[in-house]
Symmetry: C2
C-alpha cells in the first residue's frame, strides 16, 4: 500500500466498511488483566453479577480469549445512523506548528451525545432490551455518557434513571435538559432516593457528589426494580465498554490503511479508559504480537486526578459506596474526590483494568497535564481546526501538539494519531472561566493522595 | 443512472467532489429579483455600498447573470475541514411513519458553529481579509451566525464586533461564551455604543432588541472604523449569502445523483432565506429551465413571524434603524418584532429577495407552522435519528413528516429532501420550556401586522 498523493482533510469510510465485529484486545494480551473480584476475594462469576448487568454483557466482560464479538445487526443499524466517524488530517494545526509530523485525529463528536459514549450506550441498551429488561440505570458526571444512554434508551423504549453528580447537575442544567428531552429521569447525586445516598448525605449533607457515589446509587436503584427487570450500565472502566469502543480504533486502523499510513504514536485522554482502550486496540495488538513493536502509546490524564501517574495498582471498588465488585487497576482510592474546581473532566478515581495492565506491563506510557494548559491547547485547536473540543478530548490535543513540536526540533516526520472524543458545547462555563483567567490547577498533595489510598480495601489473601 | 440497492444512512461525497464553484440561481431566473435600492429610490450601485461590503461580495451581490462563481482556493481549503456534509437517509423516521416515501436530509450541523452559517462566514471573512480589511462587524440573534463568523474571523485574523440581540445575549450566555472563545467582542443590542443604539434606547430603555436593530448598530460600527478598513457582514437575506449557501444544494444534488434519486419535494426552513435558497438552487434551476418542471418547493416559516405567508411583497429596509438600503421582499415591516416568547428562531422581518421573487412568481410554496408542533416534531426526530435539531431546522422536519404521512395515505412513494440546518445544543432552555408545557404560540393579530406594515417606507415613483 503506497501513500496517496493527498490525504483528505476528513476521510469517511463507507457504510460497508463499518466493522462488523468488536475487537477484544485481551485475547492478544500475553498477560491478561486481573479478574474482577468480590469483596471476600473470590473471583466474580456470571451468577454473582447477573443481577446487575445484562447477560450478554457479562459474557463480554468475563471473556479474555475470544478475539472478536459480532456486533448484533440492530446495533450495527444504529451505528450506521452516525458512523463511520471521520479520520481527520489536522493540516491547519500542522502548518501552525511548523512541524514535519503528520497529525491525524479520529473525531467522535459528530453525534448528539457529543462524544464516543454512544458507541457503548447503543450496545448496552440493546442487550438489555433483547433480554427483556425494562429499566436501566446509570450515573453521569459531565453528562456525555448520560446523554448517550438517554438516546439509546429512547431508541429501545427502555425506562432510564440517571444519577448525575450533584455539582454537575447544578452547573450544567442544559445537560440535564437534553437527557430529559430523550425522556430520561435525572436525579442529583447523592440523593435521598437511595439507601446509600441517604447514608452519604447523613455523613456530609453538603456533598457535591462524585462519580463513585452516583454509581452506588444507580446500582442500588437497578437492584430494586421488581421482577429482576432492572440492570445497571456503566459508561467506562469495564472490559465490555473498552470492547465496544474498539470500533474507534478499528475504523481508524482501516482509514489509515487506505491512506497507506501507520501511526508512530497513538494518544488518547484517559478518565475511565474506554476511549483510550478502544482507540489503541488494533494498534496495540500489532505491538503485542510483534508486528509493530515500536509504536508508542500515551495516555493523558489530568494532574488533578492522576490515577495512572500517581495512583496505586491495586484491587479497589468501582464505587464510593463500596457496593460493587473490585477491579485491579490504577486507583487513587474509591474515596478520592478531585477538587470541585477541576473543570477538565476525567474525574474518576480508577482506570480500566485493561489500560491499567498495559501501563503496568510497560506497553503504554502515561502523562498528567494541567488543565490551564489543556484549555489553552483546546482554544488554539478550535481556531485552527474549527472544532471546539470537549475539555476531556483536549488533553490528547495538548500532548499531540507537544509531540509535533518535538518533531519540529528533531526533524522527525512522525505520524501521530490522537482521539478527539467529543465536543465542548456543554462546557462553556469552563471555557468562560478560562478566558477570564479564573481557571486554576489543583494538584493533589501527597497527603491528599494518602487519604484517598487509605480507602483502598485490603482483601485477605489478595492484597 | 439506476438506484443503488441500498442507500447508505449517511452518504459523504469525497473531498474531490466538493463543488469548486457556487451556483448563482439568479442567472437562470426568467425574471430577476428586484434590485437593491437607496432610500431615494435609486438603484444601489457598487460605489453606494462599497463602504459597507467587501468589493468582491458586492460583485456577487449585484450580478444577476453569471451562473457560477469560482470558490477561492483558501475558502475551498477551509470547506474541506468540515465538508462535504452528509446526505442522510432517514430510515428510522420512515419506519416510524410507516410511509412509502423516501426521506433524505442534508445535515449541516456537523461543525462547531452548529449550522450551515459557516459556509458563508468563511467566504465573507476571506474576501474582507483578501481586500486588506482589518475589522468586520455583524449582528446575531440565536447565535449561529455569530459563532460561525467568529470562527471564520479567528481563522483570517480579523477583529470582529458582534451585536447580539439583547434577549438572546441574556438567555444564551453560552452562545456568547463560544463567540468570545474565538476572540470576538460581543455587545448586547441595543447598546449605548452606537448612535442608533442610543436613539432606540432613548425611545425604549427596556428594549429587548431585534435583529433589525442589531444590524443597524453593526453597520454603524463598521462605517466608523478608521481608514475605511471596516466592513459589515450579514448572515442571511442577501444574494451573496444565498450564493455561498448553494454549496448545500450542489452537494445534495450530486449525492442524490450518485444514488439515482431526484426529489419530488424540497423543503427548507426560512428565516432570512439563505439556507432555503442554497438548498433549492440546483433543483430550482431544473424547474426553471423546464428539465424538472414538477418538483415542489416548500418554505417553512414560524406562524409567529410569517413574512412569506402573511407579509407584503414590497421594498423595505433590511434594518430597523432604517440606515441600510432597501430590498424588494416579503416583509412584515422593519418595525415588526416577533413576540419575545417565540423560541423557535427565524425571527427576521423580511426575506431573501431571491426567495421572495420565486414565491411571488409561483415557483415556491410557503407554509407557516406553530412552534409547539415544531418542538414536538424535533423531539420525535431526535429520538429516531439521534440528532437533536435546532428549532429552526425542525420547521423543515415537521413539514417533511407531514408530507411523508400524506404519502402513507395516498400510497405515493415520493422522494422528499429537506435541509437539516443545524443542531439544538444551545437551545435547551426552549426545549426545557416545551417539555414542561410552557411553550406557547403567539400568532400576530391582523392589527399587530398592520402596525408592522406601517413601518414599510413609501418610495416616490417606486411604491
Amino acid at each position: 500500500m503506497t501513500a496517496s498523493k493527498h490525504d483528505p482533510y476528513r476521510l469517511y469510510l463507507t457504510e460497508d466498511q463499518i466493522p462488523k465485529a468488536w475487537y477484544n484486545l485481551r485475547a492478544d494480551m500475553p498477560e491478561k488483566p486481573e479478574p474482577m473480584r468480590l469483596p471476600n476475594g473470590a473471583v466474580a462469576t456470571k451468577p454473582d453479577i447477573a443481577p446487575v448487568f445484562a447477560d450478554a454483557l457479562i459474557d463480554q466482560e468475563l471473556d479474555d480469549d475470544t478475539p472478536y464479538f459480532d456486533i448484533p445487526e440492530p446495533v450495527l443499524e444504529m451505528y450506521k445512523v452516525y458512523r463511520p466517524s471521520p479520520l481527520c488530517r489536522a493540516y491547519n494545526l500542522e502548518r501552525a506548528l511548523d512541524t514535519p509530523a503528520k497529525i491525524f485525529y479520529k473525531f467522535e463528536g459528530n453525534n448528539t451525545s457529543g462524544s464516543h459514549k454512544l458507541n457503548s450506550a447503543i450496545a448496552q441498551a440493546y442487550y438489555a432490551y433483547a433480554q427483556g429488561i425494562t429499566n436501566i440505570t446509570t450515573e453521569t458526571g459531565a453528562g456525555q455518557w448520560g446523554t448517550a444512554l438517554a438516546e439509546a434508551a429512547a431508541h429501545y423504549g427502555l425506562d432510564l434513571d440517571i444519577f448525575m453528580v450533584k455539582c454537575s447537575y447544578e452547573q450544567k442544567p442544559f445537560r440535564r435538559n437534553i437527557m430529559e428531552t430523550f425522556d430520561a429521569r435525572v436525579t442529583p447525586s447523592p440523593s435521598d432516593t437511595t439507601e446509600v445516598g441517604r447514608r452519604i448525605l447523613a455523613q456530609d449533607p453538603g456533598s457535591s457528589g462524585s462519580l463513585g457515589t452516583a454509581i452506588s446509587e444507580a446500582v442500588e436503584r437497578a437492584l430494586h426494580v421488581p421482577e429482576n427487570r432492572g440492570r445497571y450500565q456503566l459508561g467506562s472502566v469495564l472490559n465490555q465498554v473498552v470492547l465496544h469502543q474498539s470500533i474507534i480504533g478499528l475504523e481508524s486502523y482501516e482509514a489509515l490503511r487506505e491512506l497507506g499510513e501507520y501511526p508512530d504514536v497513538v494518544i488518547g485522554c484517559a478518565g475511565g479508559g474506554s476511549n483510550l482502550g478502544g482507540l489503541i486496540a488494533p494498534f496495540m495488538r500489532d505491538k503485542l504480537t510483534g508486528a509493530r513493536p515500536a509504536t508508542r502509546f500515551i495516555a493523558v490524564e489530568p494532574a488533578s486526578c492522576p490515577s495512572l501517574t500517581r495512583g496505586r495498582y491495586a484491587y479497589d471498588f468501582a464505587d464510593t459506596g463500596q457496593t460493587c465488585p473490585l477491579c485491579k487497576m490504577y486507583t487513587l482510592g474509591n474515596g478520592f474526590i478531585p477538587n470541585p474546581d477541576h473543570a477538565g473532566g476525567l474525574r474518576y478515581h480508577g482506570m480500566s483494568p485493561i489500560v491499567s495492565k498495559l501501563k503496568h506491563d510497560g506497553y503504554l506510557d502515561a502523562v498528567a497535564v494541567r488543565q490551564t494548559d489543556v484549555f489553552a491547547a483546546a482554544e488554539r485547536f478550535a481556531k485552527l481546526e474549527t472544532i471546539l473540543p470537549a475539555p476531556e478530548s483536549a488533553h490528547a490535543i495538548l500532548v499531540a501538539m507537544r509531540e509535533a513540536e518535538r518533531c519540529r526540533e528533531t526533524g522527525e516526520a512522525k505520524t501521530i494519531l490522537f482521539g478527539l472524543t467529543g465536543t465542548g458545547y456543554f462546557d462553556m462555563v469552563a471555557y468562560d472561566k478560562f478566558n477570564r483567567g479564573e481557571l486554576e490547577d489543583h494538584i493533589p498533595t501527597d497527603e491528599e493522595l494518602e487519604r484517598g489510598f487509605a480507602t483502598i480495601p485490603s482483601i485477605p489473601g489478595i492484597q
